[in-house]
């Protein structure tokens, strides 16, 4: 299905995308935890995978999630300068920027892949980010790559 058709086919208000979410152990995962313990509500769209560092995220993971039918991918790590391993997220930033350009060239809507930074103290921001990202992906509708050979 074409991307534009997806948009005009206006997905139902109730549909929630499935967003494969990579969170770094030290900042964003703790931020998500804080959102939870503070009882802040956010859409049930994310499927969290905890990784040691945003620099540990092999671009292949993100590509794999998308081509196997994830509606979107979100990645969040420590803010630049706050990396637990000092510089992991600086390397990640370059890699993700290139990856996003590549995916866009190959015809994956840039909004389907989101990168951001959330610190351990930003529980409310985490919920905000999830809400924004979910809405951006929701309006695009389901992935056109419906799993194994569903393209």
């Amino acid at each position: 299905m074409s991307e534009r058709a997806e948009v005009t086919n206006a997905v139902s208000e109730e549909w929630t995308p499935t967003i494969v979410t990579f969170l770094c152990n030290w900042c964003s995962y703790a931020g998500a935890d804080l959102a939870g313990t503070s009882r802040i509500q956010y859409p049930p769209s994310i499927r969290v995978i905890r990784v040691p560092c945003s620099g540990r995220i092999n671009p292949q993971y993100i590509i794999k999630a998308l081509v196997d039918g994830a509606d979107g991918v979100m990645v969040s790590g420590c803010h630049p300068g706050d990396c637990h391993y000092l510089e992991g997220n600086y390397y990640a930033r370059r890699r993700f920027s290139a990856l996003k350009r590549l995916l866009s060239l190959a015809g994956f809507h840039p909004d389907r892949v989101q990168f951001t930074w959330v610190s351990a103290s930003e529980g409310a921001r985490f919920a905000d980010v999830v809400e924004t990202v979910t809405e951006k992906i929701r309006v695009l509708g389901p992935s056109r790559l419906g799993g194994r050979d569903g393209a």
Binding site: V67, S97, L105, T116, R148, D149
Partner: protein, 297 residues
């Protein structure tokens, strides 16, 4: 204009001299191969072997990664611009040592494959290799002629800016559908020298390789990602593909991006540090949520 006969002659003379003097252990070049239909890589090891070396308009094969087979030996190579860019990339990545290589820089204004300009030649910056030890000019002489180049390569970033996500997906899908997952492109690529490619690892269920659309997409996208800032635009991947898959534009587009945003171009500077092996604290946040420029194209 190109005089391949004179170039062959000069190449053979040079190769014989290097081997006789014992300067190098082998000269890497190309040899006629009727079975394949175009010349294929060949190591001349004695002065007698050099008669087998050929140079003509079908010598489009990128020889750089064959140097890896003899990385600790002293070897001379018959190299065009694209081979040299690839050699530089391999030196930058600590795969080759400059002092082990004698570059016989052969002037080239574009090779032919099946009667048309070979892939990659349309975007080649110069007929003169950007690094060399021995000169073989277009007419077989000791000076380069600096010939005019086709210079008709696609600007992928411009193309992307003028297309929709749908159109870009269609182009990608059309090429992906042709792919038979034979990995010839990977084998031919100067940058794909990993001993164990991610596509050969089937340790976990999610790494299973079935020749379906999603696997093919995962292969090409991940390969493109691995080549970000490393592709030398030699065109080898398209030249060897048995199914006519043309995906080099993805690699080229990434190179354009890396050059624009990080001021890095593969195959130019032997002293450079690989693009993905470094960062700046003030690198632009080109793909991030919340107020930053989206790298949408």
């Amino acid at each position: 204009m190109m005089d391949y006969n004179k170039q062959s002659q000069k190449l053979k003379e040079t190769a014989a001299k290097l081997l006789e003097e014992g300067t190098v252990e082998a000269v890497l070049g190309l040899k006629d191969n009727p079975e394949v239909g175009w010349p294929t890589p060949y190591f001349a090891r004695t002065a007698g072997d050099v008669e087998n070396l050929v140079w003509n308009e079908a010598c489009f094969t990128n020889l750089a990664n064959y140097l890896l087979d003899m990385r600790d030996k002293k070897v001379a190579i018959a190299a065009k611009g694209c081979d040299v860019r690839s050699i530089i990339n391999l030196i930058v990545e600590n795969q080759l040592k400059r002092e082990n290589i004698v570059i016989i820089g052969i002037e080239c204004s574009g090779m032919k494959q099946n009667d048309s300009l070979a892939a990659g030649c349309d975007a080649c910056p110069s007929s003169i290799p950007n690094m060399y030890d021995i000169v073989v000019g277009a007419d077989g002489s000791d000076t380069y002629k600096d010939l005019e180049m086709p210079n008709s390569g696609e600007n992928v970033t411009e193309w992307a800016k003028n297309t929709t996500v749908d159109e870009r997906f269609e182009r990608f899908k059309k090429e992906i559908d042709k792919c038979i997952l034979c990995y010839a492109c990977r084998q031919a690529c100067q940058g794909c020298y990993c001993k164990a490619c991610f596509m050969d690892r089937k340790a976990t269920p999610w790494e299973q390789v079935d020749p379906d659309t999603s696997t093919k997409m995962a292969f090409h996208l991940t390969r493109a990602m691995h080549l970000a800032g490393r592709c030398t635009d030699c065109g080898a991947c398209e030249k060897v593909c048995p199914s006519g898959v043309n995906l080099k534009y993805l690699f080229k587009g990434l190179s354009e991006f890396v050059e624009e945003f990080y001021d890095f171009k593969a195959g130019v500077d032997m002293e450079a540090k690989p693009f993905a092996n470094q960062y700046k604290q003030d690198d632009q946040q080109v793909a991030f949520l919340g107020g930053d420029t989206i790298v949408g194209v």
